[in-house]
Symmetry: C2
Subunit: 254 residues, 2 copies
């Protein structure tokens, strides 16, 4: 027999495992499942949620990636102590706008540069394109509550962001603009280092020259695996702190 045809049949529902994961997240957030407590057995959850065990386990894995629960072989699933909401992009750095939201501040930008011009050899190599390919260059001062926090330079092959003048990057998200154009971001290589503020950077960030800054360089790729974006962000050392959360995967090896 098939499932009991509950006639839900809604036209475009989330996959069952997403619904199940959301349901469990709510129960954890709502306190029905307290931190440290054990979840009902998988086979019982299957009945409660009306899904198969394979599907349930996919939902549970999603919660593991969030850091919300952890399995213990032979004992059960346990709710993590620190089960608050995690990033929507787990294991990533907290984004600037996420930080702003967490701190209850308004994230804005002052646009220094927004223009299309030919790429240099170095830029082309980083982005995996031919030298001279048109690049959209976006330079911004990122601010929280009006205070300058970071200098952000982004390079995007112009073809991937047609008509950049459609956007107002004092408030619009560059990531969102790329996603709207069908360039979903899939992964990123990141390096982070500490460096003194040069005179130029210092004046843009309104700090003294020579003070420590945090320099983050990223090459972000889309689904197609070609780099979509290269960015360099330089944070004033005493005004920002990168945050991230790592969860180890299901590897059995040490």
């Amino acid at each position: 027999m098939t499932v009991n045809d509950t006639t839900i049949r809604t036209d475009y529902p989330d996959p069952l495992w997403v619904q199940a994961a959301d349901s469990l997240r709510e129960q954890i957030a709502g306190g029905t499942l307290r931190a440290g407590s054990r979840l009902p057995p998988e086979r019982e959850l299957c009945l409660t949620l009306g899904i198969s065990r394979v599907t349930l386990r996919k939902a549970l894995q999603a919660l593991v990636d969030d850091g919300a629960i952890a399995p213990s072989h032979g004992r059960g699933w346990y709710v993590s102590g620190h089960a608050d909401e995690r990033n929507e992009w787990p294991n990533s750095l907290e984004s600037f706008s996420e930080t702003a939201e967490r701190m209850g501040l308004l994230a804005t930008s002052r646009v220094l540069t927004a223009e299309v011009s030919a790429s240099t050899i170095d830029e082309a190599e980083k982005l995996g394109i031919a030298p001279g390919t048109p690049l959209f260059r976006l330079g911004r001062v990122r601010m929280l509550g009006g205070v300058p926090i970071a200098l952000d330079w982004a390079l995007i092959p112009a073809l991937l962001l047609p008509q950049p003048e459609r956007f107002d990057f004092t408030t619009d998200s560059l990531y969102q603009a790329l996603a709207d154009g069908g360039n979903e971001l899939a992964n990123a290589e990141t390096t982070i280092e500490a460096r003194e503020a040069s005179a130029d950077v210092a004046s843009a960030l309104d700090v003294e020259a020579g003070t420590p800054t945090l320099v983050m360089h990223q090459v972000v790729r889309g689904r197609g695996e070609r780099p979509v974006l290269a960015s360099t962000v330089q944070y004033a050392g005493d005004r920002y702190r990168l945050r991230t959360y790592f969860a180890r995967h299901n590897r059995t090896e040490l």
Copy 2:
């Protein structure tokens, strides 16, 4: 029957999905599957590898987490351009010893402190233990090829690392020591900031006071979700660069 009931029985075959993932990794690394090329269809791989589709997909997901391949609905699986070996702990920061290996340098340490003493209130709060609980304190200068790179302070509840004097932390890995004791590390909360080197730090790292340093603070949890380790690492700004690689998960949002 009860053949030899040797209690050990270290007869661990890897799960099929791990074997399958390894097999695919080899084919990619070995060039049988070139960057950018398409993998055989899932149903064909199932026959080749002699496993079911569910199992195969678990293996493929592992490669996605490595950043080695990416799926395209309706088209196939594609090998990523940058398909070289990734971290064993994907989406984590590259560890000090990994960096050393990549650069062909020898990672050593000078042990400043290795002692057990009672925890302060602040330390206890970070580690989720009672104030006064004995802590193993390990202070090291981390070096690459004999050059001091970072100051590393680690705090571990003493119960989790009995007889720390068994280890020689000038060369032994703290993570390995914890894993040997059954404390597998599961996840970590990390903050990273830039700060000036104090006089003490500067002399330990052999740099000038006031130069930029990268300060990374981590609270690492094990499977049990209780913190296992709190560490603060301060890198000389002009001698080290953190590296990481993020891969977006299967979320459909955006």
